[in-house]
Amino acid sequence: MKELENLYDRIIQRVNINLRELEFEVNPYAQNAIPLGQMIKFYAFFGISPHHPLSFQFKHSNLAGSYFLGHCNVINSLLYKSDIRGDELKKKGDLFQYQCFEIPVNRDEEINITDSLLIKTLVHNFSHDPETLEEFFIKDTISMNYANIHGSPSDGCFLGPFATADLTTIRDCVIRRFAYVQAGEVSHLDIAAGTVWVRNPGEFNFIYQHPVDELNDYIFISPTAPPQGLFIDFVEDRKEAFQRVFDVVNIEHSTSVPTSASLDRYAVVKPTTTIGENVLVSQRAYLQNSYLGKGANAQENCYIINSQLEGFNVTAHGAKIIEADLGTNVFVGFNSFLRGCPDGRLTIGKDSIIMPHTIIDVKESLTIPPGQLVWGMIKDDEDLANHSIPIEKFSGITSGISMGNMYFEGNGASFVTAFKDRIHHILEANGAFFNGSEKKGHAQKNQYISFNTLQPYPEGHKKGLYPTIVIKP
């Protein structure tokens, strides 16, 4: 396993060099996150379908338990149980709209992961950087458990557990646990744990800071301890169910799936769950005793338990919905944690936007009226009053507002429009609006994916490394 150890050391050193200005040492965090011994236990797998590009190159890397789709290259990297989803990459001839420019895409875009360590990380979407349209790069980067790198080229960065970089080029940044960044382009920033930052320069700037003491109960990490807290316990408690779907070669879900919907074979579905038309359930999603109405989706690492989603609901990567009833068109952002209880359900009215990385954790019933913008940490009605605002009222903001730890500057209508447009795009891309012949999306295209597995060297100094593999159509 010497080669694997050398590779690990090489990645650590490269990331440390990039983050020296921030005086951030990644080694203690990464070392505690995943024993190298674990990295030889699991096979990697990739999807083939007539609807997706097929081009993979794996070289001098470990890919344990990771999934690949589309056009990806992985060199000198360690990927542990990560999902590299290249099904929304740009194609040659596409026109990329950036401000007042329409920039032609010269060749098919590819995801290039080099000299990086990704742990249980989701990589998805496409590069939104007009300077690097054909390459979605992730280099000299370490990401921890359940981080999301979504449309965000990354160079020399560390993402803590449950952190998200969304539609943002990040360079030499530390994005600490449960922080969310959607800001276009950032460099040399150390983003504190629990920061939620959404910025469109010249239009709006939203920031919220979770109270760190309370956040520590949900997710905590230190240089001497691996990630821990309620979030980790929650996923660990359901780990065994995933073990079964990964161990069995041919799996048949007992749930009935409409012909217009897609249920990934690497998802867990427990009784009694109903899947409506045009629903998308991605790999590593977990459904239990829930109803997903027409056009709803459950993306990677989502958990929907004892809940009702009326339809056209976006449950973004890593979001968890427990003992809750959601009206139509409710958007639940990345890694949000929404938990009611059997005697005190959580109800969210239609057309509400739950901001990314929101925590709603209630012991008594809580009702969010329709059309609300919700953020922060909410445990009762009083918290809700301080962490929500009617979307209509927010749209009327012309200069700024602050509520507790939330600060907003700019045009509220512009912020709301940006969110609504994006929600529409996600539903469209996922196939929520499929009419039987047109508007196909992932829910329809992902029905025809077959999977192949890859294995590393079982022994010797290359133990754990995968041989160089090139896969083309």
Partner: protein, 211 residues
């Protein structure tokens, strides 16, 4: 401009200092006192008219000829071994006097995220009005009792300049490093302070002389 740094520096013995461990209140008085004193030569003046003696009020220099009227704007902080460990300016004191409640801390933290100065100013005003009056802020015993080392600017490598450096180079270094003063060294020892006001005066005089 053939002068070198040591010709224009204020000798360390004549520069106002305060010891590590002093409080903010003590620093305020020391800086106030330093500001009203000027650098004085040992040459006696032949007049009893105080107005011609500038501000030479300290006993050591009373009745001596003032070298200049540039007041001191900073204090040097020295440790128990007499070593200069920091500088304290009016700005540092104003920063130390800032309210440190949770709201203000949050506002400080969001500065780096691209909010406009106008928005930040408005937040600060709101936070001031919400929390306390200005009078109360400046009477807070916790703030007044803060130690100088908690709010001084620690000296860094680029705060030092050798005594034999030319003034032209010194002027360049002060401009490029954005320094209002630099510590002048003779080998490892700090022997004086070079002030921007003195360097500026010499530079301007040279410019005028070329006309």
């Amino acid at each position: 401009m053939n002068n070198i740094v040591k010709d224009s520096m204020v000798p360390i013995s004549e520069y106002p200092t305060i010891s590590e461990g002093a409080t903010l209140m003590e620093a305020v008085f020391a800086l106030e006192n330093a500001k009203t004193n000027t650098i004085c030569s040992n040459k006696s003046v032949e007049t009893t008219d105080d107005t011609k003696m500038g501000n030479c009020k300290t006993s050591a220099f009373k009745g001596k000829e003032p070298v200049d009227n540039n007041p001191h704007w900073i204090l040097l902080i020295v440790n128990s071994e007499g070593k200069v460990i920091g500088k304290l300016s009016q700005l540092n004191i104003l920063t130390a006097l800032e309210t440190k409640n949770e709201g203000m801390k949050n506002i400080e933290q969001i500065r780096k995220f691209g909010f406009s100065s106008k928005y930040i100013t408005r937040l600060r005003e709101d936070a001031y009005l919400k929390n306390t009056s200005i009078d109360k802020i400046y009477a807070d015993p916790e703030i007044m009792g803060m130690k100088v080392e908690d709010f001084m600017k620690e000296v860094a490598d680029n705060d030092f300049i050798d005594e034999n450096t030319s003034l032209a180079t010194a002027a360049y270094q002060m401009a490029s490093r954005k320094r209002l003063s630099m510590l002048v060294t003779r080998e490892e020892e700090v022997v004086g302070v070079l002030r921007l006001s003195d360097v500026f005066t010499l530079v301007i005089n040279n410019v005028k002389a070329q006309k």
